[in-house]
Amino acid sequence: MGAIGQWVKNQASRAWDSVQNIGDKFSTAIGKVQGYVGTAFEVAKNGSTFVGLQYSSIGTIRSAIRNYVTGVQKVLADLNTKASNKNALKGEVASAADAYVKAVSDVAQAYVSALLAYSDRMYEYGEEYKKADTNLASTVSEEASALSSSAETYQEKYNQQ
C-alpha cells in the first residue's frame, strides 16, 4: 500500500472512531434511560380500541349518580302517601303503624344514600388519572432530557470545500 493509500486508510479509521465514539455515547445514554415498564397489556383489558377519560365528564357522571339516588329516595318517600292504612287499622295503632312506615321509609332512604359513594369514587378515579398523567409525563420528560443531554454532534474540522 502506498503512502497515500495508507493515509486514506488512516483517515477512514479516524472517521470510524468518531462514529464509534458518538455511537457509544448514544448507546450509553439509551441504556441509562429507564423506559416505562408498564404491565404486559398491549390492548385494553376489555378489548376496547382506546382508553381514556374526559375530565369534564366527571362532574356530569357525579350529577347523574346524585340524580339517580335522589330518584330512588323519592320513590321511598312516596311510601308514606301511597300506602294508607285508613282502611286497614283503627285507633292509636293506626298512627303507630304510620310512624313505623315512615321509619321504614327513612331508613331505606338512608340506606340508598350509600350509592353516593360511587359519586365520590368517580372523583377519586379522576384524581388518579390526573396524578398518573402528571407522573408519566414527568418520567417521559426525564428520559427525554437524559437522551438530549447525550446528544453529541460531530463538527467538521475543516472548512467545507
Partner: protein, 100 residues
C-alpha cells in the same frame, strides 16, 4: 256498623291491601328505580372509555342488586310487623270474651 266507624280494630281485607300497596312501592317501584341506571351508564360511557368505566358500571349494578335484595328483607320485616299487629288484634277479639 262498618269498619270506618270503629275506634279500634283491623280490617283483614284492608290490611291485606295495605301490605300489597307497600309491596308495590318497596318491591316493585323502588326496585325498578334502583335498576334504572341507564342515565348513569350513559353519562359514564359518554366521557370514559376502556375497561375501567365498564368495571365501574358493573360495580354499581352489583351494589344496586344487593340493595334490591336488602330492601326485600326490610319489606319482609315490615310485613311481619303488620301481620303481627293484625294477629294481635284478631287474637284479642278471639279471646276477650270467654264462652260462659
Amino acid at each position: 256498623m262498618d269498619f270506618q266507624s270503629a275506634d279500634h280494630g283491623v280490617s283483614i281485607t284492608g290490611m291485606n291491601q295495605y301490605i300489597d300497596d307497600i309491596n308495590t312501592v318497596v318491591l316493585t317501584e323502588v326496585a325498578a328505580a334502583l335498576r334504572d341506571t341507564g342515565a348513569v351508564e350513559d353519562a359514564v360511557r359518554a366521557g370514559w372509555h376502556g375497561n375501567a368505566p365498564e368495571q365501574f358500571i358493573a360495580n354499581l349494578n352489583k351494589a344496586k342488586e344487593q340493595m334490591v335484595e336488602t330492601l326485600k328483607q326490610l319489606q319482609n320485616t315490615f310485613e311481619t310487623e303488620l301481620n303481627g299487629i293484625k294477629s294481635s288484634i284478631l287474637d284479642m277479639d278471639a279471646n276477650l270474651v270467654d264462652e260462659e
